[in-house]
Amino acid sequence: MKPAPFDYARPRDLDAALTLLGNNASAKVMAGGQSLGPMLNLRLAQPEQIVDITAIDELKLAEISGDELVLGACITHADIEDGRVPDVTGGAMRGVAANIAYRAVRNRGTLGGSLSHADPAADWVSVLTALDARVALRSTSGVRQVALGDFIVGALQSCLKSGELVTAVHVPKRAATAQWGYIKTCRKTGEFAHGQCAVLIDPTTASARIVIGALDAAPVVVAEPAELFGGRIDANYKTTFDVRVADRLLGDAGIVDAAQRHIHVTVMQRALREAA
């Protein structure tokens, strides 16, 4: 299990990284290497050029700007877990970070890597979708921002174009009235989840973002959340939640196995029950 030969560069500034990426269609970004490393070793990825972006200071910035938090792509899970970066989510992100994989993985794994890798069971993928975050993308030909729900297009698929990087994640401030719940179920500590649901629900505005992850595809953002609660989201949402509607929703999402649906529905119910 040794990678195929590749060239390696660790530029100090973003433009140099973008130039390297732009010049070689077979170049690949490496951030924490926690997913890319195994893929290289298994020769599932055989890039000619690796561009290690962890020496670029700009990608490690973290600041609150107006109503949102901007986190550089190379912020690690541990940075968030340890509270080394500001927070606008009422502690939601910190709690999530602390339960990603194991500490060794959290020390290296990054936000940008996690989102770009687009594993359907990755925590940030569904959590930041529920928090309505956007990603900032950059290439030599320009910058753009994409809502996370649009960024992840399928299992292990994002809308990143060749030569493009995630530079930052923009997380909107959580409203004081919004309640947050997140549950995942894993076969063992540190494993990717096989059931995952993130809920940001606000009875005062009768709105909710409910995201079901750990499917075989991109996370499902429940389009009409009110349907799950008999047509209305209010302070009684924990009891009005209708498991039959949720089950049908998962069936519509293509999950034919009844036990799998039951686990996903249970996780959803508990995320709602936990929301606070």
């Binding site: 299990m1 063992k188 500590t189 036990a259 799998q260 686990i263 249970t266």
Partner: protein, 789 residues
Amino acid sequence: MHGRVDQHQGGQGVGARLPRKEDDRLMRGRGQYVADIRLAGMQDVAFVRSPLAHARIRGIHVPEIYRDRVFTAADLVDVNPIRAVSGLPGFKISEQPVLATGKVRQVGELVAMCVAPTRAEAEDIAAAVVLDLEELPAVSDMLQARSPGAPLVHEHWGDNVFLETNFEVDISAALDAPIKVSREITTARQCMAPLEGRGAVASFDHRLDQLTLHTAAQMPHINRTGLAECLGMDQGRIRVISPDVGGGFGQKGILLPEEVCLSWLTMRLGHPVRWIEDRRENLTASANCREHHYKITLYADRNGKLRGIDCEATVDSGAYSSYPFSACLEAAQVASILPGPYVMPAYRCRTFSVATNKCPILPYRGVARTGVCFALELMLDLVAAEAGLEPGEVRLRNLVRPEQMPFDNITNKHFDSGDYPQALQRALKAIDVDALRARQARGEPDGRRIGLGVSIYCEQAAHGTSVYAGWGIPMVPGHEQATARLTPDGGLELRVGVHSHGQSMETTLAQVAHEMLGVDVANVRIILGDTAMTPYSTGTWGSRAAVMAGGAVATACGDLGERIRRIGAKLLQQDIADVEFVGGEVRGVSGSVTLREIAHTWYRRPQDLPPDVDPGGLEVTSGYKPQRDSGTFSYAAHAAVVAVDPDLGTVEILDYVIVEDGGVLINPMVVDGQIFGGLAQGIGTALYEEMPFDAAGQPLATTFADYLLPGPTEVPAPRLDHMETPSPYTRFGVKGIGEGGAIAPPAAIANAVNDALRPFRAELMRSPITPHRVVEAVIAAQDAGRAAA
């Protein structure tokens, strides 16, 4: 024979809780494993392996630039295939070419060998070799493999059955029993997943005219014998060295085709070569284990007394018969060990060792016992439910009683000693069954369901010549030998043919030597794992090392002690009858002489020795076998309390009690360690580990992301209680104990889960118990309930 000779000799002998001597090296990262060995001019090997489970090889295309770096079966014409034949009647022989010829029969089978200065470059070459394969229909399900019309793994057999056995004691006598429960029970295919994978470094020593193979192996002498047969070499021209080994568990008890390939290659190229297995190779292409299927019926009276067992067991042996244990040891053992310590008048068991297009299997810690225990103990809980008894009670009514010892069970297994009911009663008391039933009735605030499961296992260990001669496999253990040698400064060197890869032999054998000679364990060196330095032995397997090597060391030290005493008597100028050897010195009425002085005199000042001294000197090789070689029986009662979330399917182990009887314990702390490690593996079998294959025979768990092992948060600290019923047949009353920890947990945990789910009428009869399977079982039971209503 048993009992303590030594409590007074400084507390280092048999029974002392000494910290492990080897830990000083291993815990500081100073162990030396195969991958640490560097030889001048050494190059790395990577193999081209079959990507298909079953295919005819039409061609192997090697790029011109790599012609002298790639070797195929066409080059290895003088190498014999690996043959592991069992003498049991009807056994069908598989020939495993070390590099595939004609066709490939499993994913991962070796097709070509590529050599380069580094492993990465060797992998580059391997990636450039193109295989032209004609895919054949594969068979990856053992029951399907047994049915007519299945693709044939070895065409000339006419079917896919390595061996079928049948054992019966009057099953007709059980058929009218009022309780009859039948089920199908399955255990998953597993990988043993030692921390260190396989690996080998081969080189040739022209001075000694000797091939040297460093390999991570449990039984280096057996590897040498097998290697010599494949290479057509005299055994004296081969030296096998197994250095530190990072876990074996059975997976390193095999002659690997890779070892034969590397040995051939170093002789062909004239420089050392090495192959270090990577994790993907270990998971997908090394030996697997444990895949059993049972169709089983238990017959009992209303009071829960067993009337008989009727069973048909199938074991998936994979494509080839592994050397030396063969493809049939596991299944054929099922028939003989299924009844275990339970008393019954009738029994029938048919077994099938089935060939499939998968990796061969090897006996994994516990061998067939883990599957057998799982099947029988799950069924006993069903009998208990039918009879309206507590699971503990049903077992107490059927277990062999202490006054029946020694006891020959229905398959003629000879149980040497023990008090099985007491072990169970102690476990039930520790777990507090009444309190638990009350808690179950109250229910849990979080909605989870609590369950209690018990299981009993017994482990036949150190079974010797009489047992293995019957299997007729390439390896039959005889007398175990040890060499004890005093060094000129009074230190002790012990050479033994077993190996130590987690068993702590460097500590426990030193304790045995201390018991016999009073030498400080710090001054005892244990030399293992090298065919050039140690007496021939079948090695470390079958929980035999403490009994066999421990007995051999005791015998050799005893003989050496006698020589020491004789020289001491001469030096003291006393009659041999008037001196004794205690506390590391020879004492007589006139004074004493220390071991160190005796050694110094023998080696350095022979002029001081009397002329009629025994010329054998201070080095002795002696052999040992227990009085009976039918094996020692250690056993335990396990009791588990679990909480099951019926909606998520998760299982948490809340409490785990083990009451263990391993005979006289040489080092109770080492035994605790063996049990902890075994428990972790048993939890893996129960809840996590599974190597699935698709219909085309592709292994699906190719990394540890898919092959789940329990980690620290999944393994609770058990509560351990020891009983110490000596074996009447072995030195010190020791019993083999290395495997037991891994045998009983799957059954105890499954029984606990089923107990928890009984209100739902849900039942799980296969391992591992995954969340998906739990939820599936609950839903199935609810659907069945609705259909019935």
